[in-house]
Amino acid sequence: MTRLAVPKTYKLYIGGKFPRSESGRTYEVSAPDGRFLANAALASRKDARDAVVAARAAVSGWAGATAYNRGQVLYRIAELLEGRRAQFVSEIEETEGVSRAVAAAQVDEAIDRWVWYAGWADKFAQVAGNANPVAGPYFNLSVPEPTGVVAIVAPQDSSLLGLVSAVAPALVAGNPVVVVASERFPLSAISLAEVLATSDVPGGVVNVLTGSPAEIAPWLASHADVNAIDLVGAGALDWIALEIDAADTLKRVLRPENGPDAAAPALGRIQAFTETKTVWHTKSLR
């Protein structure tokens, strides 16, 4: 007797909740051999806007958290991901059609990337900022601050690692994100959302949309309440048009990257979503 499995309904992750697309639309996700795996939500423009609203609402809490706290929360993600390692390995094996070893390597690297970025949370400001020896009686300090809401088109050729590689660095400095997952491999993104929902990441700090990046990205690129857009996974889209849309509100833009090294771990990815603030403070004995 084999037991009849209980399949999961994959929904969106917006504002700490798991809603279906408001449009009611789904699309079929299949294994490389054509076997049906699940119906993923096909996010709409309205879903994208809802996600931006949720991200904006999360700005003050996440940006205002101490760097130590953010580091702990990011490390907690790694802990919970480690605990669900087998689940992710099986999911990736099925969706990507790769060997168990390859899937495991992807999950392990994703876990380690959370750890690497977690460690940066209370250090990058010391590397990126500095005291400025100005010619006058002023205390003068430059520090990096989060840019605001960051929209991300995740790398499209991986289930988990690409997503984590793009999302984690934006979170380090205190930016909430709205991420459009891989269109082909959306399932692990929603499974990761389940990890995020249970690992002390405040609701709205990470919002995950599944569906068509070509459909959703333009709305994010032109949205006036999005401060930056990471087009790392938008190489197959008309990303120049997206960059032009983003210029209307002078968004910070990261360009597409291709291949297995896309969104490789780098301090530069953290700094890309920061703004340097310089504070002048008078000095006086009186």
């Binding site: 210029a247 509100t249 002078l250 990257e257 703004e275 504070v279």
Partner: protein, 521 residues
């Protein structure tokens, strides 16, 4: 005669030895422009100062080609130590000719001589000194060992601080090993052209810095030129947006320093005398032609009346008039066009229900002038509270709690600067943390220093100028390892030069040797 009446004390123009006309500075020499020459006038008298060459697209191409040649053959191969020595030379020459530059700046721009003499020009020298020292220390710029220069930098600057903006642009670009094509603003080209003479005196290799004059279309052609690797622009948000669109999808890096609508927040425990001076300095410095000007005064409700009364008293003592007079506080508005814009927006303020008060001062007959003006009873929705006026016009709003002050201060698409006035240090730091602006001045305003990064959040642009951050804006990491790194260095300027056009035609070169007059020394 009241104690405020002073005899005229004009700075002498004899220190200047201006030419009747100026060419474009390309490849180390002054050459004719192929566009129709235009005149630059003194905004204080509307008299012509000189005729200025106008660079058309072919001239832009020549300038970019000269910069490319200088980059490939000379500047990118030169040691950091020697690049630094050239910058030190330039800094010294600026100091030596400081008074001449200050007089020229006030003449061409309309700003008071006490500002050009005591702020603009000393900062220009400081900027070159600061970045000179960086040239042989690029490994410490924050990009890892052996960072690379970008290539040819196209730099377009505004008319409010003509020579200072030139220094902000050229000094870090050269220190990092780039070559430059710079376009000064149409109404204020004079000091950039005198600076070109300084470059000749410094014997800077030809083509390392090229200065081309013209209007907006010259700047647009420069930014669009395919031989350009880096764009640095200071000016309006509208133009900045157009540049961001134009360079989308190209490998050009950009630094954009755009508009602002800074809040200057005054709490009821502020040191009031200093605060009044700070408010005045914040918005009436340089006739308010300052992108980071404190144009929105947010004053705590309990001290609103006192602050406004004292401001009116103080503004009544400001002397408006001849920019070259050493006693002048408020100079001329830079152009008729700008004056019209200030008048139009100011009238909108009245139409929208705010109360206008202008300092009672005598307006000279010729030239462009606008008396220091305060609007009270301004609503946050009013255009004078939202749009950059870029003139001596202050909008006064009130708040009750720090939270309200922060919310109102951040209620703008801009995010360049802000001011905080309070005696409470802990409050300063907490408020500074929450203001979404790139530069925060606490109990001071409008301070600038080459060591201090400057630049905006949100629609005030991106990138920083000044400090280590300003240097990094002209560098890319060494091409090793990671994809992102490899990509940004994959298009080194070195390979792009093969397509760089040679100058299309040999033209008459008016060799304009810098005349070194005894009076300059």
């Amino acid at each position: 005669m009241s104690f405020l009446d002073y005899a005229p004390a004009p700075e002498s123009r004899a220190i200047l030895s201006l030419r009747d006309s100026y060419g474009l500075f390309i490849d180390g020499e002054f050459v004719d422009g192929r566009g129709a020459a235009f005149q630059t006038i003194s905004p204080a008298s509307e008299e012509r100062i000189a005729m200025i060459a106008n660079a058309n697209e072919a001239d832009v191409a020549d300038a970019v080609a000269a910069a490319r040649r200088a980059y490939d053959r000379v500047w990118s191969k030169m040691s950091g130590r020697d690049r630094g020595k050239y910058l030190f030379r330039i800094a010294r020459l600026v100091q030596e000719r400081a008074r001449e530059l200050a007089v020229a700046e006030s003449l061409d721009n309309g700003k008071p001589i006490k500002e050009s003499r005591d702020v603009d020009v000393p900062l220009v020298a400081a900027w070159f000194f600061y970045y000179a020292g960086w040239a042989d220390k690029l490994d410490h710029a924050g990009l890892g060992a052996d960072p690379r220069s970008l290539g040819v930098a196209a730099q377009v600057i505004p008319w409010n601080f003509p020579l200072l903006m030139l220094a902000w642009k050229i000094a870090p670009a050269l220190a990092a090993g780039n070559t430059v094509v710079l376009k000064p603003a149409e109404t204020t080209p004079l000091t950039a052209l005198i600076f070109a003479e300084i470059l000749q005196q410094a014997e800077l290799p030809p083509g390392v810095v090229n200065i081309i004059t013209g209007a907006g279309d010259t700047g647009a052609a420069l930014v669009a030129h395919e031989g350009v690797d880096k764009v640095a622009f200071t000016g309006s948000t509208a133009v900045g947006r157009a540049i961001a669109k134009q360079i989308a999808g190209t490998d050009k890096k950009a630094t954009l320093e755009l508009g602002g609508k800074a809040a200057n927040i005054v709490f009821d425990d502020a040191p009031i005398d200093q605060a009044i001076e700070g408010i005045v300095n914040g918005i009436f410095f340089n006739q308010g032609h300052v992108c980071c000007a404190g144009s929105r005064l947010l004053v705590q409700e309990s001290i609103h009346d006192e602050v406004v009364d004292r401001l009116k008293t103080r503004l009544s003592t400001l002397r408006l008039g001849d920019p070259l007079d050493k006693n002048t506080d408020i100079g001329a508005i830079n152009s008729r066009e700008q004056l019209d814009r200030i008048r139009a927006l100011s009238d909108v303020g009245v139409e929208e229900g705010a109360e206008r008060w202008s300092a009672p001062c005598e307006i000279p007959e010729n030239g462009f002038w606008y008396a220091p003006t305060i609007f009270t009873g301004v609503q946050t929705s009013s255009r004078i509270a939202r749009e950059e006026i870029f003139g001596p016009v202050l909008s006064v709003l009130t708040f009750r709690t720090p939270q309200e002050a922060i919310a109102k201060a951040n209620n703008t698409p801009y995010g360049l600067s802000a001011g905080i006035w309070t005696d409470k240090g802990s409050r300063i730091l907490a408020v500074a943390d929450q203001l979404r602006a790139g530069v925060i001045w606490a109990n001071t305003f409008n301070r600038f220093d080459p060591a201090a990064p400057f630049g905006g959040y949100k629609e005030s642009g991106y990138g920083r100028e000044g400090g280590r951050h300003g240097l990094a804006a002209y560098l890319a990491p060494a091409p090793i390892g990671q994809a992102a790194v490899a990509r940004s260095a994959a298009k080194p300027a070195i390979t792009a030069d093969a397509s760089a056009p040679e100058p299309t035609a040999k033209r008459t070169r008016r060799t304009q040797k810098a005349t070194t007059k005894g009076s300059k020394r």
